[in-house]
Symmetry: C2
Subunit: 232 residues, 2 copies
């Protein structure tokens, strides 16, 4: 019999993984701010564990690029600069296009149906004007495409890269002017994949990232200006 209680799932997870997930979430939601130091004893007390799992979690965050290590000084939350985000998006543009192409070759009938539903679902979600609901529907749509590639390494990389811009996802999602074009782009991607038109699917996927980039960069500049003003 399978497990009935998801709660108990956490208990079998090693503490280092619990800590890893907790810290990652805290960083991605902005609870832990860029530049903030991650002090081991402090975190250990806060999470009710010893330093060991904290340290092991930090090693993984380090490799994931969410924290940077300064020798003999410890870890701090990585700064997100406009440059680092452009770098991430440049890679994502290429990988999202790859996903779209691969999906044309490999998507199953079931996945096609799911993708169609996710497409409609996204359109419906925009009507709610609830950023959380819209973001979820957006992720669901793209997840189906990524999964359809069947390439585990690609799936892992996309997930990691998506993380890096998690904090800014809401900003472009909230921009209601863009909703119609987002819906339209999703629809084109869906139809291209079903129609096995790799060229069009990849092109639209790239365009989709371009639009996100514009929103996100705008948002970052805004924040930087606010920070600069606050300093004065």
């Amino acid at each position: 019999m399978g497990d009935h209680f998801d709660m108990t799932m956490d208990e079998v997870l090693p503490l280092r993984d619990v800590v890893f997930n907790t810290l990652r979430k805290a960083i991605l939601t902005g609870e832990l701010k860029p530049g903030e130091r991650l002090m081991e004893i402090h975190l250990a007390n806060r999470l009710g564990v010893s330093r060991t799992p904290i340290r092991e979690a930090i090693r993984k965050l380090e490799l994931e690029g969410l924290v940077i290590m300064i020798p003999r000084r410890g870890a701090e939350v990585a700064q997100i600069t406009e440059k680092s985000l452009k770098d991430v998006l440049e890679v994502r543009r290429a990988l999202d296009a790859l996903c779209a192409e691969l999906a044309c070759d490999r998507i199953t009938a079931e996945e096609e149906e799911m993708l169609g539903k996710a497409c409609d679902e996204f359109a419906r979600a925009t009507k709610t004007k609830d950023a959380t609901v819209i973001a979820k529907a957006d992720v669901a749509f793209h997840d189906i495409i990524v999964q359809a590639t069947g390439n585990q390494r690609l799936i892992q990389l996309i997930n990691n890269l998506s993380e890096q811009m998690y904090r800014y996802r809401f900003e472009y999602i909230k921009d209601e002017n863009q909703h119609d074009s987002l819906i339209e782009e999703h629809r084109i991607i869906y139809e291209s994949i079903v129609g096995r038109d790799k060229e069009k699917a990849a092109k639209t996927a790239r365009l989709h990232i371009d639009n996100q980039e514009k929103s996100i960069i705008r948002q970052i500049r805004l924040e930087q200006n606010q920070a600069a003003a606050g300093k004065k």
Copy 2:
């Protein structure tokens, strides 16, 4: 004034990083074989350190995909299957093409010159018939292109993906029949980048990976057959 003594630099590296590099190298060179268990006390004794740095190094290897964790059983060296290698190469094909395109836009005059030299150097290296020399020259050539993108994230990803096939690099390098086409491809890539022909640079980069894939897959099948025969 800058540091005069480079010797002391290594000594300040935390043990976890020394262990991480040591284990990674051991895995990539095949000294630690796929499926082999990484037992902490054993490794600690062997490397003359305690379990703590070993464990932290393993966490990073885990995220890098070089080892897999089995809960309550520890780490073992990840198996490289034909599928996992195809997955890696599929991503690399896209990213190498991206590198070539970006290099067209961003390469500096100095880098162009270095690339030309690296191109000649590779041709010369093939004459030596020494796989190590050829492999080094090959890496040097591609490194210049990757660096020319100026995209830190991309540089990091390519390095990680290259690692995954490090073990098989010698196989396609040793294949002397391919030397001429490798030289030719390098030359085309170089000229395309200098001539700012993104399309051609990207296309040739993809072709370059295709050729490597063929060699490597052939090698893997060979090994698998040998393993199967040995079992019988």
